[in-house]
């Protein structure tokens, strides 16, 4: 079950990053990964794709990255992942323009359901 979508994964924690790549690949997605926000911002994205990003990162954090993308007029859906999904953080993420906030540890199923939701009207 190969899906066409490209998923960008930004997480400074290598095991989390590679496990995401492994699981998303297993689920049939193409994955591009980045160790931090500036690494991600440095590359041009012309393809329709979505971003899965950790919130707590050194340098530009997940919420700041989301805000930055929205300020640049990007329509790329952003799914934020966090180990501490307080109400305050969720509210802040949503106001920054995030599509969803998923709490770690998350089952792949929950992630896939969220991906399916944001990509439902693509193509």
């Amino acid at each position: 079950m190969t899906r066409p979508w490209l998923i960008h994964v930004v997480d400074d924690d290598a095991p989390v990053r590679t496990s995401l790549i492994f699981a998303l690949n297993a689920a049939g997605f193409r994955v591009a990964s980045y160790v931090d926000a500036s690494d991600f911002l440095a590359l041009e994205k012309d393809e329709q794709s979505l971003l899965i990003c950790d919130v707590r990162m050194p340098g530009i954090n997940g919420i700041e990255l989301t805000r930055l993308l929205k300020q640049r007029g990007s329509t790329m859906p952003v799914i934020l992942m966090t180990g501490n999904a307080s109400h305050a953080l969720q509210a802040e993420a949503m106001s920054a323009g995030a599509t969803a906030v998923i709490e770690k540890p998350a089952a792949l199923g929950a992630l896939l359901a969220e991906i399916a939701r944001v990509t439902a009207d693509w193509r």
């Binding site: 989390v16 496990s19 492994f22 699981a23 297993a26 180990g83 540890p105 998350a106 089952a107």
Partner: protein, 525 residues
Amino acid sequence: MDWGSQVKMFMPHGMCLLWDPALLSLHVISDALIALAYFTIPLSILRFVRGRNDLERKHRGLALLFAAFIAFCGLTHVASILVLWVPVYISEGWLKALTAIVSVVTAAWLIALVPRALELPSVASMQNEISAHRETMLALDAARAALAVKVDRTEGELRVAEQHGHRSAALLSTVIEAVPGPIFAKDWSGRMLLANKATLELIGKEWPQVEGLRDDEFLGDPRQAEAVMANDRRVMDGGIAEEIEEIIDHPVKGRRTFLSTKVPFGQMGDEIKGVVGVSVDITERKQLARDLLHVSRRSAMGEMATAIAHEINQPLAAITLYLDGSVALLGADYEGPLTRSLGLAREQCLRAGEIIRRIRSFVSGGDSVMRRENIARLVDEACGLALLGARERGVTTDIVHVEPDNSVLVDRVQIEQVVVNLVRNAMDAMGDAESAALRVETSYRADGMAMVSVSDSGPGISAEVAGRLFEPFVSTKGVKGMGIGLSICRTIIEGHGGKIWADLDAGTGATFRFTLPRHTLVEAS
């Protein structure tokens, strides 16, 4: 030569004078008058010596010698008259010789006495001295009179000072009575010398009930009295003021904590006579400090829980994704044992994540799920998890439920965490000891609390660590433990309205106990 032969041998001296009556008369009268005078003088001297009893012995001797010398001189003049008619010249010669000896001795003595006689004060100087003495006496009399006046005045001043002293003492006792805190003084043997109103209120007694008594004679609790007296003793023995916390039961207000400043008293450099103290009731302040400590501990725990949650959730997230990815790789069509085991592993990861989430939300004041649970069943399930590998390590376990139907209102996950933590700690404490025995017991107490006890046969816990066991980052496991487990347990149990503590018997292991309020169903009417 005898008297008769002398008379025959010589002629009388009158013959030399040719028996001229006029010349004889001149000699006889002159010699008689001289002899008379010479005999009178010794008599006067004798009278003088007899009259002056205060004379020194040698002065008396000199006076008598002088009297004898003059008497002898008188005798020679009598002899001169005698030899005019009776020619006893030899006897007269011996008499003169005797007189010469007495004269010479007297003269020699006198010569020796002259320097000392010169030292004797003259009458004038004696009179000067006497008048000087008289003046001194007058001055002394004047001084005595002045002194008497002064003594009178001093006595008056003393009376005034005494009255002033009475006023000072009265003012002091008024002030001591007015001070709201207890002020007291005790003597060397601990007997009450002074206790103001606040002190008497503190112990709920009247002054006659404590006057001259020791603490163990008027305080209700003998152990409290013993502690107070030991403090007094130490202050007096050491001679150094101390600030001491003391606990005394008030008849109405219950147990009160006082901060007492006790000072030894006695004069400078003198021996210590007793102890004087002032106290402040710090019961409320102590309670406030405990509450603050509790709040700060909770907030520190909250921060710590957030940090731990992040650090543990990262690997948990990775594990979950690897497991889910693996299941996905196997394909939807695969139905085999691997799917099941991977699924179970994934469930445990999510459970671990759930535990962390609950603890974090709990310590940061968030909601937890409180349900009615059977404590016996809850403990059984938690032990099932915690005792994994116990048999392999040779640990004999004994789980006893004194009352199986024992319900509590708890967040199950949190209480399970506490039980797991205590059981794992007990297993770690026993290490690889040959006879390792673990006992877990549930019971309920008369005060309406359910109690869970976890006992081990390990080495126990040192008193040094015991007091701080439940503080964060205190560990008995050396580098292996972070010292977080028990502090989280305490936060969880206290959050449920219970208490957690340790009974420590060094050498015979340790017993950790916690209580939870029992949940009793209200019968529906």
